[in-house]
Amino acid sequence: MSPAIELIAINKSFGAVHANKDVNLSVERGTIHGIVGENGAGKSTLMSILYGFYEADSGEVRVNGKPIVIRTPNDAIHAGIGMVHQHFMLVEPLSVVENVMLGAEGGAMLRVGEAKVRAELARLAKDYGLEIDVDATVGDLSVGLQQRVEILKALYRGADILILDEPTAVLTPAEADALFGLLRSLKEQGKTVILITHKLREIMAITDRVSVMRRGEMVATVETANTSPPELAELMVGRRVLLRVEKAEKTPGAPLLEVDNLSVVDSRGVLRVANASFTVRAGEIVGIAGVAGNGQSELLEAIAGMRQPVLGSLRLEGKAIHSSEHNPHRMRQLGLLHVPEDRLRTGLVPAFPAFESAILGFSDEPHLGRGPILDHDRLIEDLAKKMEQYDVRPPAPRLKSSKFSGGNQQKIVLAREIERNPKVLLVGQPTRGVDIGAIEFIHRRLITLRDAGVAILLVSVELDEIMNLSDRILTMCGGKITGERKASQTNEQELGLLMAGVVDEAA
């Protein structure tokens, strides 16, 4: 039997970047095939070629043994390939049925098509256990269910081969388990699944085979049963990496950041943080675990002064922060620095040269220039030094910020904040979109900072990261702090329950 998908000698370049070099991939029918690789390794490019977003410069695509040309996503759909994107492509105000129909209405009038969709959705629910309220408004569904709608869309369009791009990034552990259950039942029914992820745990849990990409090349394809996470990590990076950072036990010092009864309302008037109270001490990393969108972002922004809380108060080094000085500028002066969650939208200015992004938030510092004029030579020199210390590649201060890889951008942001000697450091998603090699570096820096007596508040959706770095862990769900644990005395299952909002009886 010929493989479901065969990619033969695929090449694709963007300008000088050779994103895919002679890539070969063979995916057997009825299997779950993982593709792992660091950011920028070429996974997304490869899948975009398979799904018709890009055309390969050279190479051949075969589906079920037959060579085909895929120029548009429509070609891919006709060939039985479906894709579930990391960022859902759903119309939120429409119902599930309407979303599934979209682009496959089957005529000018909706009624006929709709009946067909309903029948088909009922069948899919029966065959694969894909239960869903077909008349629910998509915007009201949980993220896990929205993802289910994406899968239904693909299946409705006759997909035999399903590509999922980082599907668990937005899911709770429980939702991720439900997804894996679903993928297994799809496999049993003969569907083929391609899973793109950077979470090695998931690869080990669910895939049959796994392919590793590095710098545009396919470096290995192995049976999952015959490999291990350290081996995969080494294949991805090209050298041995430590998946866990070592840190010594340490008794935290005086409380530096005290948050009392903080509540935050967003611009639409929705309560995003409800009565959060906690303390972060000198020499301590407090991690906030939670599924994306449960108020962690708003909490960080409120502490940093980017949003005014509607209720509650802050104390920094024991001194109460008056609401008139609770703004980002003043908080920086007081020694509370902030590595924001979203580098590209918040942490730097993509269009600026790196040396200008490297003073974001500090452009008023007198030593950076003379009077109203900034001293560019000095900024460039300063950043060149930091780039060396932080191993930023390429070490080019004049290069546009957007041209650096995610890991190097993050190092530029970290260098900017850390080198200003924070007392309290807020860190949001420090390693999102960052390659494994850089993750190791960033984690070590944060530990060093903690050992030097900085109070660090860490927000991350990567549970591994939280467990790995934190001394104490708080869980958030629906804007509330649902639990607090010592990192050494908890496990993933327990945190997963707390993140899902199960009431914490121990607290």
Binding site: A16, D57, L348, A351, G361, S363, G369, I373
Partner: protein, 367 residues
């Protein structure tokens, strides 16, 4: 999705605009051909009329002065992420500011009166831009809509004032009395004559120097100063501005104030440099040309100077062309100008993409 558009700097700033201009002239040539005239002759008249004679050159540079000011005005706002299309109204109010200063302080000597007149222009232009700026910053009223409305308000306000309030009692014309003579910004031919050099007479006056100085000032402000940094952060990435502790509202108002003040330069050149009185419609729609100039100049002062020169050539040469080849009317010249604006502004992305594609290919071939 498309491949990233990476171009070397020279291609981005020189090659692409040059291609736009050539393409625009080719299409304009077809239009000329379509009405039965010879495009080559037309081009010759255009260049001859604008650059071929000392007098023509003087007029070209006079228009260029206008365009530099309004182009810079649009550019400064643009860097803050604002589309100020109210240059016309801001220049109109600046004219009012000039008239109020000059005709009420007639007793002052020229070396005081001229700077005060310029300040009056800047202040009134700034004020007229600050209101839409404030509404955008604090109320979220879209700047495009409000600045358009403010163009009309400025226009009718000037009509009212010139007909009912500021008009000379004996005169039938809706214009103020002439400004005091010591307030005239010297004509370039007079300045040169003072040094014993004779150049042809034209409207060109020393305001050109002010325009070039303003261009340098804007460059320094936008690309080198702390304030310019904040302006560009707000324009490029508003949420990064909030993170950085830069208040977008404050920056929006400041950028509009600067923008309006720069638009006031148009009134300085036209009124203090040439007309020497306040009259209706002296802005002649040049405030809108500033948008095209800024777009074509990629909001960079050097680009704006070059684009202003091009539009100066077009306006001056176009007038000559309409005179020499009556089949090509003034309206025809406007059409040609429009085609250039279309190519340089709206279709800019078309050529940029094409050029980027060619560059990418070339790189691949070399690799």
């Amino acid at each position: 999705m498309s491949a990233p558009l990476d171009l070397p700097r020279w291609a981005d700033t020189v090659l692409v605009p040059a291609i736009s201009v050539v393409a625009a002239f080719l299409v304009a040539g077809l239009v000329v051909l379509a009405i039965g005239e010879n495009p080559l002759t037309a081009t010759r008249w255009l260049l001859q009329g604008s650059l071929g004679t000392g007098e023509g050159l003087g007029f070209t540079l006079f228009y260029m002065t206008d365009f530099i000011f309004v182009g810079l005005a649009v550019a400064v706002a643009y860097h803050a992420g604002l589309f100020n299309i109210g240059g016309e109204g801001q220049a109109t109010l600046a004219g009012l500011g000039i008239a109020l200063v000059l005709n009420n302080l007639t007793f002052l000597p020229g070396f005081l009166l001229i700077p005060l007149g310029i300040l009056g222009a800047a202040a009134f232009g700034a004020l007229w831009a600050a209101i839409p700026g404030y509404l955008q910053a604090k109320r979220g009223s879209h700047i495009v809509i409000t600045t358009i409305m403010f163009n009309w308000l400025a226009s009718v306000l000037l009509v009212y004032l010139l007909v009912n309030v500021l008009r000379e009692p004996q005169s039938m014309n809706p214009e103020t009395r002439a400004f005091p003579e010591q307030s005239y910004i010297p004509f370039m031919h007079d300045v040169f004559a003072a040094f014993g050099v004779e150049i042809p007479t034209s409207q060109l006056n020393l305001t050109l120097v002010l325009a070039l100085a303003s261009a340098y000032f804007v460059w320094l402000l936008i690309y080198r100063s702390r304030l310019g940094y904040a302006i560009r952060v707000v324009g490029s990435n508003p949420s990064a501005a909030v993170y950085a502790g830069i208040s977008p509202a404050r920056i929006i108002i400041i950028a509009m104030v600067l923008s309006g003040a720069l638009a006031g330069g148009l009134a300085v050149n036209e009124l203090m440099g040439y007309q020497h009185r306040l009259l209706l419609e002296f802005t002649s729609g040049y405030g809108f040309v500033g948008i095209a100039v800024a777009l074509m100049g990629r909001a960079h002062p050097v680009g704006i100077i070059l684009a202003s020169l091009l539009f100066g050539i077009l306006y001056q040469g176009g007038a000559e062309l309409a005179f020499e080849q009556p089949a090509i009317t003034r309206d025809m010249v406007v059409v040609i100008g429009g085609i250039i604006i279309l190519f340089a502004g709206a279709l800019d992305g078309l050529f940029r993409r094409l050029v980027a594609h060619l560059f990418a290919r070339q790189k691949l071939a070399r690799a």
